[in-house]
Amino acid sequence: MSDDDQKPVAGPTPPLSKAKRQTNRRRFLRTVLLTGGVLGAALSGFLPLIYSQRKRLRPPGALDETDFLASCIKCGQCVQVCPVQAIKLADLIDGMGVGTPYIDPRRQACDFSCDAVQCVLACPTGTLTYHKPEFLTVRPGADLAAKPILLAKEKDPEPTLNMTERMGVARLTRPEACLAIQGKGFKGQTRGPDFKGTMRYMDVDRWKPIRIADHPYDVAECDLCARECPIKGAISIETVFAPDGSKRKSPVVHEPCVGCGVCEMVCPVEPSCITIEAREVWKT
C-alpha cells in the first residue's frame, strides 16, 4: 500500500474500449428514442390547437379559444365551485385539450344559480375573467350591449351578472320539430325521469338547485325555453307569420342571450330544437 493511490486521479481520460463505445452508442440511441417518444406524445397535445377553430362551449367569462388554451392551467377549480356541475374537464379524445373545462349544455347547462359567476372568481390564471386585459380583442358581436339582468335576482339592488361577453348564442336549429311552432303543449318531465340535469327554480328554493326530473310541467302551449331562460329579455315566444302567411307561435332569441344553454337543456324534443352555437356572436 503506497501513499500514491490515495491521490484521486483526475488526469487525461484513457481511450474508451470497444465494448464501452458500443454501450455509449446504444445509450445514445435510447436517448434519441425517448426524446422522440415524449416529443411525439407532446405533439399530439397540439391537436386541440389545430382544432381550435371548431366551436366549443367554454365556461362564462372565457377568453377566446387560443388565449384560453394558452392560459388554462387545468386545475378544475371552476369545476369545483359550480353548484350544478355544468363544467366538465375534457379528456384525451375530446380534442379540446386534456383537462380544460367545457360545458355540454344539453347534458347540464350553466343556469347561473351561483348568482355571481363563481367559476370566474375561482380561476387562478385569468382564463375565465370579469375584465379582459386590454391587449386582447373582443370579437364584434361577442360583447353584450348591457350587463345581463339575472331574472332570479331582478329584485336585488344589483340585478346584473358580471359578464361582458357572451359564451355563444342560442339558435332555433330544428324549427320543424318545435312544439311551440306546432302549437302543441307539454305535460310531464322534460327530458324524462332518468335525466340527471339540475336547475334552480326560484319558486322551489333560490339556493338549492333541484333535478329537472323532479319538476314536471303542464303547459297548454310549450314555452319551456323562454320560461326557464335565466336572463331577462334573452328569449321570448312571439307570434310570427309562417311562409304560407298563417300566424303561429315561435321562440325568438334576442340580443341579451349569453349562450348559457338552459333553453337547450330544457327543450323536451329529442334532439333539442334549440341549440347553443358556441363562441357565436350576435348578428343583427
Binding site: 484521486p8 445514445f28 416529443l39 397535445g45 397540439f46 387560443t66 377549480q77 369545483q80 384525451l92
Partner: protein
C-alpha cells in the same frame, strides 16, 4: 463553507443539469486521513461485516413519506368529493383554505404561453416558491407528486424482473431532462400553448384522482410500462421538467441529506435504492472531499438512503438549525 465544499456545490448544480459527477481534484486533509485509515483496515472490515449482518431493514422515512403523499392527494380528493373545501383544485393550481397555490412549472408554462400574468397567478406562484424553498425543492417530487408513488411501485416490479434477469435497466443520457425543459419552455413560448401540461403525468394523475379517471391515463400507463420493462424510473430521471424546476428551487433550500464520511463503509446500498444516484457519488470510496457533505439539489429528499444505510452515515439535516441549539 470550505472552498472544497463550495466547488462541490457548483459541481452538483452542473450534475443536476446532466453532467456526470467527476472525481475530485483535491480532498481536505481531514477527509484524506479518513480515506487512508479505511484502506485495508481489517478491524474496519470486520466491523463492516458485523454491521451488515445485523442491519435491520427500516422503512421509517418511506412510510412517513408515503403517508404524507397519500394525505396530500387525499385532501385534494376529499375537498371536492365531500365538499369540505380545504384544498380546492388540482396539483397544477389550487387553493388551500382560500390561499392560492400554483405549481411552479405549470405557472411557468402558462406565463410563457399566455404572456400575461394576473395577480392571483403571481401570488400563488410566490407562495409555492417560498413553500418549497423552505421544504427542499424536489421534496415536491417524492413527498407530493402522485406519479412518483405509482413510479415507485413500478420500480419495485422493474427491480424484481431485473433480479430474475428477465430485463436490464437501459440507462439514458441525463442531459435529456434539461433538453426537454428548454424544449417545452420554447414550445410554450413560441406556440402559445402549454403543451407540456397536456402530457404531464403529474397533472393527469392528480386530475384523475379528483375528477375521475379518463383516457389520458393511458399515457401514464404507457410511461409506467416503459419504466417497468425498459428503463428504471425513466420519466422522473430523464424527462420530467417539473423535477428540474423544483431542483433549481432546491439549490437554496436548507432541507437536505447530510453525508458523514466517518461512519460510511462505502458499500453503496444507498446508491442502489436512490432515484438519482448521481447525487450520491460522494459516497464512493475516496470521493468525499470533506468529512461531512451536504447532498446536492437534484436529491428528492425521499429518505430511502437514510432508511437503507446500516451505519447512519446519511441523515436529514436542516441547514442552520444545528447552530440554533
Amino acid at each position: 463553507m470550505s472552498q472544497l465544499l463550495k466547488r462541490r456545490f457548483f459541481e452538483q448544480i452542473k450534475v443536476m443539469f446532466g453532467a456526470e459527477p467527476s472525481k475530485p481534484a483535491e480532498i481536505a486533509p481531514a477527509a484524506q486521513a479518513m480515506h487512508f485509515y479505511k484502506k485495508g483496515n481489517r478491524d474496519l472490515i470486520a466491523e463492516k461485516l458485523h454491521a451488515r449482518a445485523h442491519a435491520e431493514h427500516k422503512n421509517t422515512w418511506r412510510n412517513r413519506r408515503w403517508a404524507t403523499l397519500i394525505a396530500a392527494n387525499l385532501l385534494f380528493v376529499l375537498s371536492f368529493a365531500l365538499d369540505i373545501q380545504i384544498l380546492e383544485g388540482a396539483l397544477t393550481a389550487s387553493r388551500f383554505v382560500g390561499f392560492h397555490l400554483i405549481d411552479l412549472n405549470s405557472a411557468l408554462q402558462v406565463m410563457l404561453a399566455h404572456k400575461h400574468i394576473i395577480n392571483n397567478l403571481l401570488i400563488g406562484t410566490g407562495t409555492v416558491l417560498v413553500l418549497w424553498v423552505l421544504l427542499g425543492g424536489r421534496t415536491f417530487c417524492s413527498w407530493v407528486c402522485p406519479y412518483h408513488l405509482l413510479a415507485e411501485w413500478a420500480e419495485k416490479i422493474h427491480l424484481y424482473l431485473a433480479k430474475k434477469r428477465l430485463i436490464t435497466d437501459q440507462t439514458i443520457d441525463r442531459r435529456l431532462r434539461t433538453v426537454f425543459w428548454i424544449l417545452f419552455a420554447l414550445l410554450a413560448f413560441a406556440t402559445g400553448y402549454t403543451v407540456f401540461e397536456a402530457i404531464s403525468p403529474t397533472g393527469i394523475v392528480s386530475r384523475a384522482l379528483i375528477y375521475g379517471p379518463g383516457l389520458a391515463l393511458l399515457w401514464v400507463l404507457a410511461l409506467l410500462v416503459f419504466e417497468i420493462f425498459f428503463s428504471r424510473r425513466a420519466w422522473c430521471r430523464y424527462a420530467c421538467p417539473i423535477g428540474l424546476t423544483y431542483g433549481v428551487v432546491g439549490i437554496v433550500s436548507p432541507v437536505r441529506i447530510k453525508y458523514k464520511l466517518a461512519e460510511c463503509f462505502h458499500e453503496g446500498d444507498c446508491r442502489k435504492v436512490c432515484l438519482v444516484p448521481h447525487v450520491l457519488d460522494t459516497v464512493i470510496k475516496g470521493r468525499a472531499v470533506e468529512t461531512e457533505i451536504p447532498i446536492g439539489p437534484d436529491c428528492t429528499r425521499c429518505g430511502l438512503c437514510v432508511d437503507t444505510c446500516p451505519t447512519g452515515s446519511l441523515s436529514f439535516e436542516i441547514k442552520g438549525l444545528s447552530k440554533l441549539t
